[in-house]
Every structure is written in C-alpha cells, then in structure tokens.
Symmetry: C2
Subunit: 525 residues, 2 copies
C-alpha cells in the first residue's frame, strides 16, 4: 500500500471517524503540506495526491502482479485478500462476500464507511478480475507490471519503477487489469486515503464493493447481493470502470449495454483432411462459417437478423442531445484508429445505443508458421451480442439461433453424433456462454446523480462528457434486479488502454486525475 498521509491545516472532521484507526498514518512531506495549506479544496486534493504518486504506483504494481483471470480461482482469491488488506490498511473492516452455500466463487470484497449524520449511502464499485490473456501476444508478460515512457507501439521504452520520471502523466503502466479494472480499485482506495490525509470524510455513507468476476459476466453478483441485501442499503452505485472519452474528457454514463457471448462451431469431415486429396470435394467448415457470418450484416453495417432492433426503449430529448454532443468526435476517433470509414451508417454514440452483433474471434485450424495443407474439421467463432434496454437476452439469442437455422443449419448445443453428421449436411453447435447481462439505464436528471456530476465537473480539467449509456457492459442490471438501486458510471482509464486485448495499459495521468475526481465526488455537496 502507499503510506497514509495527513494535512494539518484543513478543517478536520477526523474526530467523527472512529473506525478509521490511524495506525499506518505517516507525516506528509513538508513541501506537499505547504502546497496544500493555502489552497482551495481541489488544489489540496491534487497536492496530497501528487506528493504520494510513487507510493500509490508501488502499491498498484504489487496488486497488478497477481494474475486475475476469473477462472483461475486460487489467484483470484489472492487478489481478493490483497484488496481486503488494502482496505484494512485504510482503517476499514473488509469482508469477503460469497453466494449463500458456495465457496469456490470469486468473492466480492466489501467494506463500509459510516458517516455520522449522513442521510444517504453511495456504493463505490470496481472489479479486480481481468480478461483472459494470451501471453504470446504481449510485449511484456501480462502479470509483470511494466512502465514505458509512452505506448509500446509508439516506441515507448521500458523504465524502472524507481526511475526519476516514472510517475509522469504520460508514462504507461502495462499489465492485465491496469486499465480494466484494477485501476478502478486503486482509484477508489486512493480517494479514501486522500480523504483521510485531508482529515476529511465523505458526504454520504460509503459502501465499497470490489467484484471478482465481472469479466466472466458477473455470474454470481446477483446471488451475492441477494444473500447480503442488508449490507447494501444505498441510494446509488457509482461504478469506476471503463475508459474516458477518446477526446480525453472524463465520461459520466447513466447506463450500460447488456452483453452476452455465444460460441458457434460448424463442421466438415470428422477429421482434418489432406487438402490435395480431398480439395474441391470435402466441405470446408472455414468456408461454411465465413458464409454464415458474412450475411449477418448488410453493407450498411446493420444486423440482418430478423427483429434484431425490435423493442428498443426510445431515448428522451436530453439523452439525444448528449449523443449529438458526443458525435462531434467521430472524425478524430476514426483518424486515430486508422479507419478510412466506419462499419455502419450510425455515428459512434448512436451505434453504441443499439444492440450489436460482433465477432470476437474466429478460428479454423492454423495460420502462420503452423498452417498445414489441410481441410479443417471444424471452424469456430465467438460472437458478442450487446443489448440495450428493451432487449430480452434470451429472446435476442433465439433470434440468432433462428438466423442460423434459416441458413439451412441443424442447430444443436453439443458435438454432433456420427448419425447426425450423416443426416444433416449443415450442422452448427451454438451455445450461449454463462454470464449474461441485461442492459440498464437511469434518467440523466436524477437529483443525487446531478450533485455528483457537479462535483466531478468542478474537479475535471475539461467538462465531462455525459452519455445516456456506455457501449460497454457492466453489471448494472444485476444490481438493479437484486437491489432495485440505480447506477451511474464515472470512467477514468485512458481510452487507448487496450482493455480486453493484449498489452493493456494505464496512462498514469489518468490514474492521477481519477483519484482527484473520485475524491471530489466523495466530497460533493
């Protein structure tokens, strides 16, 4: 952990904070204390954070070194215990919450900070698990946190953690979870620490909730919340996850698309065949898969599956204005991503307010040096379906299944039997993966959310960009269904953080801004 610190000149409410023992508090360096002494609240926050960047970075890299793929249960538990220790070191009393009757589930790390006289309670949420990794694709190992002067693909060179410029804003920290979403965990923990150093306390009671299987689709979050409902009596969840807008503007979003994934496999012969002895005659499953996928979208980038866009809840005028505001960046984003044209006729903000269908990955036999002269035996695609409010996930999946059937396929959810192979020329295995999120969205005009947004606005260097919903998915609907509580999302990671891909990185400037903004948010009036 980074050392606790304190500032002496600011009016303190420390006396009312008995749960925050000061066992680990250390004296703040004289210069930072001086900078803070004469400053406005935001300047004080920034000074405290700036004085402790190296300690924060040190603590963060220790956390990032623990592998955090949700299916890797022993390591996930090590993460949970490390995060719980960090909460204890901040004077809180963490608990590891699990669903009733289960022990082999990534625990939700929970803590509360009761504020005498506070009338409302906020839940601060982040997740400590990360997407699966393919280490061969990384420039440095995903669980060896590594600093670079700039992004690796722009020629950034590796620098040591203790080198002079290590904490510069443009430094990139490479590791799985650096941006998504141990950054969120670290920002929340550092905001709590900054508050303590300021001898201040939050405006509202706080609940801290760090999930351990968000990237696996939060399969147990609803059960955990339901099993411990009394611990989550709150008015609003604030989710620290996801990147800021590509313009660099902090993004506040009032909802998130839902998400589900499906595995689709089609078949050729029962084994890979020599492409010379059978080429032109034995069916090639890679070609079959290509045909099946090719017709899923039309030339405008619109999904062709019958009814795909049916039943979507319409947006209000305020939400539509927000989309138009955000669309101004499309040209820049396209240019930065090296795209001559987008896939679809929609603006980017419009596109992410609609249900999507996307190929996450596709594979048949081998390419590159491992390619062989075969006709592959199978071809597989992983499909990603984002959902909006009004979509029933299972209904949407049934539309996909219907589409595959309409293309002449016999659709099953397991390997075909030999008899089925001989009876059906076209066979597809289509399976929904576990971890389905529905979409959720709260009104942009909610009074508590408006107050938090005002505090964020006061802390951010540019006006935040507000969006009715994130294109990405978060367990907002799970929270809504289990507890009835709405959620808003305040994102801090750099938008080019390669989240979900190889070489995920966090720009340190985003970490520092995030800490400032979350500290201000906790102090909203």
């Amino acid at each position: 952990m980074f050392e606790a610190y304190r500032i002496t000149r600011r009016p303190s409410r420390m006396g009312s904070l008995p749960r925050l023992a000061l066992a680990c508090c250390l004296a703040l360096s004289a210069s930072a204390a001086h900078a803070a002494s004469a400053a406005e609240p935001m300047q004080q926050i920034r000074a405290v954070r700036a004085a402790h960047e190296r300690a924060i970075l040190n603590e963060f890299t220790h956390l990032l070194a623990i592998p955090n793929v949700a299916s890797d249960r022993p390591d996930i538990r090590r993460n949970a215990e490390a995060v719980a220790l960090m909460l204890r070191q901040r004077g809180l009393t963490p608990q590891l919450l699990e669903p009733a009757g289960k022990t082999d589930v990534p625990p939700l790390v929970y803590a509360q900070w009761k504020v005498p006289g506070a009338k409302r309670t906020l839940v601060l949420y982040a997740h400590y698990d990360g997407q699966p990794v393919n280490p061969a694709e990384w420039v440095t190992p995903p669980f060896t946190p590594t600093l670079r002067t700039r992004p690796a693909d722009e020629g950034g060179t590796v620098i040591a953690l203790d080198s002079p410029g290590a904490t510069n804003s443009d430094t990139r920290l490479y590791a799985r979870g650096a941006g998504d979403d141990k950054a969120g965990v670290m920002v929340i923990l550092s905001a709590l620490e900054t508050l303590r150093a300021l001898h201040d306390q939050p405006t509202d009671n706080l609940i801290i909730a760090f999930e351990g299987e968000e990237e696996a689709g939060s399969p147990h979050l609803g059960q955990i919340l339901s099993a411990h409902r009394a611990l989550f009596d709150a008015q609003l969840w604030v989710i620290c996850d996801g990147p800021v807008h590509p313009s660099g503007r902090i993004e506040i979003t009032y909802g998130a698309r839902g998400d589900m994934n499906a595995d689709l496999t089609v078949y050729g012969a029962i084994r890979p065949l020599h492409s010379g002895h059978y080429g032109n005659w034995a069916p090639n499953p890679a070609l079959r898969l290509a045909r099946l996928l090719a017709s899923m979208k039309d030339d405008k980038g619109h999904v062709t599956i019958a009814g795909w866009y049916d039943g979507i809840e319409p947006l209000g005028a305020r939400e539509r204005r927000a989309l138009a505001d955000a669309a101004r960046y499309d040209g820049e984003i396209r240019h930065e991503l090296g795209l001559a044209a987008p896939e679809s006729t929609w603006s980017l903000p419009e596109a992410v307010m609609l249900p999507s269908l996307n190929i996450n990955g596709m594979r048949s036999a081998n390419v590159g040096a491992e390619a062989a002269n075969v006709i592959p035996a199978t071809a597989t695609a992983v499909l990603d379906m984002r959902l909006v409010v009004g979509n029933d996930p299972h209904g949407q999946f049934e539309k996909l299944r219907g589409y595959v059937q309409s293309r002449g396929y016999y659709v099953i959810d397991r390997e075909p039997t030999p008899a089925e192979r001989l009876a059906h020329p076209l066979i597809a295995t289509l399976k929904l993966r576990p971890g389905i999120y529905a979409a959720a969205r709260m009104p942009m005009s909610d009074p508590l959310a408006l107050s938090l947004a005002a505090a964020i606005r006061s802390a951010a260097s540019q006006p935040p960009l507000e969006m009715p919903s994130s294109g990405g998915s978060l367990p907002l609907s799970v929270i809504k269904q289990a507890l009835g509580t709405p959620s808003m999302v305040v994102s801090i990671a750099n938008y080019d953080d390669n989240q979900h891909a190889a070489n995920e990185d966090l720009r340190l400037g985003n970490l520092w801004d995030g800490i400032d903004i979350y500290t201000a948010l906790l102090m909203h009036r």
Copy 2:
C-alpha cells in the same frame, strides 16, 4: 537399422553386386528360411519381410524420433545424416546433395545401385521432412513415436514397441512423418534390404533420392537436380509418397496436382478494440474476411473467380475410364468421413483433377477460453490452390488477386501504412508463399510404367487403383523441368493417416505391404 538377412535357396546374383558389402548381414532365422525355401518369389519376399518386422519397426521409430520440419535446419540435417547412415548400412555410398553455393538447405540424400548389364535407370524418391506441427493438438508428442492397438480416436491403447502384438497389421504408429513420408523412406530402404537378403538385385540401375523439404514446397529441388544433372540420368522416377485409396487398394498415379499457398490478411482498426465501446461502428476484420471468403465459391462448390477453370489440359479416354472406376467409392468415403453430402457436384476423382481453392486455416483474435470481448485488429486466412496441367501458377494467383480487388480491396503484399489505412476502407495483404509446384502428368500407357504396374499388380492383394493424377502435390513438375524425366507415384500409406494434420499415423500393415510391393517392383521384368 534392422539387421540384414539372407536366404540361401534362391538363385543368387550376388556375385554381380560388388558395391553391396555384406558387413552387416546376419543369418536368417531357420523358420523364415524354411518358409522361403519352397516359395514363389512373392512368398519369398513376404517371408523375408515378415521375419524382420520387429527390426524394421525398431529402425523406423529411431528415424521418426528426429524432428523433421523443414524450417528446423539442425534437425533436418540430423535426419539427412540418419538416412545416409541407413543407406551405408545397406552397402551403398550415399551423398548429401545441396544446390551449388548453398549450405543451409535441407540436403537431398542420394545413392546409386549400378546393375551390370541393366539398360535403364529408375529413381526411387521419398522425402524425409514433414509438415509443421502444433504439439498441443497431438494425443502423444509428434516426435515420440508411439504404437497404438488401433487409431487413437477409435479407442486404441498405447502399446510398447517390444510388446508381443506390436507388429500386427492393424497397429498404428503415431509420429509426424509416420505416413508422409518417412514411410516412403523406410519402404524403399527395406525393399533394398529385402533384395539383398534374397541375394538378388534389381532389374534396372537404381538411384535413391530422399528429399528434405518437400513439405515446404521443394524450393531447392530443381536447383539441386540441375547442379547434379549427371547423377540423375534415368528413364523414370518412382515416387513413394501419399496414401493408398480409401478402399485399401494400392494406388498408382501418373501425375500430381501442383500446389501453392497464399496468406490473406484484412484489417480493422490499428489495434483490437473493446467490442462494447466500438461495436456496431468500428469495422470488424473477421466479418470482412468472412465476406471475402464466402463468395469465393458458389452453392455447387465451384470457384467463382473469373477464369479459374480456364486452360485445363483435357484428359484422354483411358484417364476418363480410370476416374469413373475410382468414383464408385465416393459413397463409402463420404460415409466414413461423416459427411452427409460433398461440397461440390463433382465425384471425388473428378474434383481432384481440377484446380482447387481451399481454406487451410483462418484466424482472427482468439476463441475458446482465450476469447476476449474485442473487435479484432486483423483477420487472416491461409489459402491453398491446387493446380492441374495447363495452369500457370502465377497466372492462377493473379486471378485470385484480381478477385480480391474486384471486391473493393486495395491489395498489397505488406502491412499497410497509416496513410494507406486512412485512404482505403478495404485493405488486403495477399502474399504467395514460397514453394510453388506446377502440375505434371505422364501418359498412363508409357511402356516402362506399364511393366512396373504389372509387377505391382502381381504383388498386391487387391488390383491397384490407377489414377491419371493424384489430388495431392508432389515435385513431379520440378523433376520434369530440371531433368525432362517423367514420374509415377506408387503410394502405400493408409488413407486415414492424418497426414498434414495432428496425430499422423501409419498402419503397420501398410508398411509391410509397401515393402513387399516395392521389392516386387524392383524385380519387374
């Protein structure tokens, strides 16, 4: 090596064989000698071979344990030296031939057996290199030769090399190269050894040529033959490579399709993107590749690329009759491969007499446990194009390139630059791989070939199946171009040997039959 052996009762021409020193000859076991004493030539050949199966198997597994991917130069050289030693142990004087001025090329292992009074010379060809391997896909490591009672996917269990039933005909030997084509090397070496044991010599002068980079497309075979033209003065090459017909009938083919491969990559954004934040808007290269591939063939399995089937040299009446004879097995093959229907409207023998276009492999990002919620940055397919007599390889490739361009792509042969990405919505990298074979075919009525075919017919338990051309590719055109010499192919491996794929295996019965047939072939009259 397996021990040399001899039979005493058969009329011997050993006196005329000074090059075959008998240093390693051992006495044949009494029972085998007795069995051979009263037998016809084929029975003698079978008895000699049967008595030495275990020694042959032992020698073969030692050879298979040396990794043999052509790009792995140190191991390829170890193979060449092992094969040369085996030739020396048979009394021949091998040479390792390389192209003029090059030393880092898999050598062609060469030897000759001069027969006093012989008027013609046959070249016996096989290749000792194998297709690349992905060890993760193998049931046992590809270079740990392993016996199983039956095919692994039919429940065959591993048995030790020295177990009682190890040499049974139905035993499968798993290793890369077991079928394709160290089997060919071993059959030729064992046929020479059998001749020696019979105190006999071949009808024609023999040249032995074992190539080391056939699976890489024989990039240097032409140069090696041209540089050593005087060593290859012969009337006919006999190629021991490829599987027998699925019916189990030995296959004699008088040509082979040509072959070339191309790598095709299409692009999305410059990096993988979060499928939530960009889904529906950022182009997905997996979908682009799917569209490009999907329209390469029509519903009849015919390639749609303009002019794909132009210029093909027509078959003669004898060749057409052979195709009709072979087509009778289509239903059985389809059933055995678990296919409800073939891809195309052609019979299998007809299909492999036409130029093909096949997807060897396809990949975009990851599937399975490594799949992540991304929009991939690239998608790649490896394409395999088989060629027939009348096709110019580069002309055929230009048709493919023209097709990709006709689909709106800007086609280059390297990574796109940032400026190109912004200028062209659709960019494809299309590159022909090194190692291009043209097709070659000799007349089925060639007199020397007819004599060899008659000898094979006398040795085979079922009548051989004759085919105007193999669907697979062999360096026949390279030989024809470098030396002007025609080639015929006599295949011995089981047709379900998984050649070019994981879990390649040889059925031992095919090895034993192959030795018998090649010994008989060398003794043709």
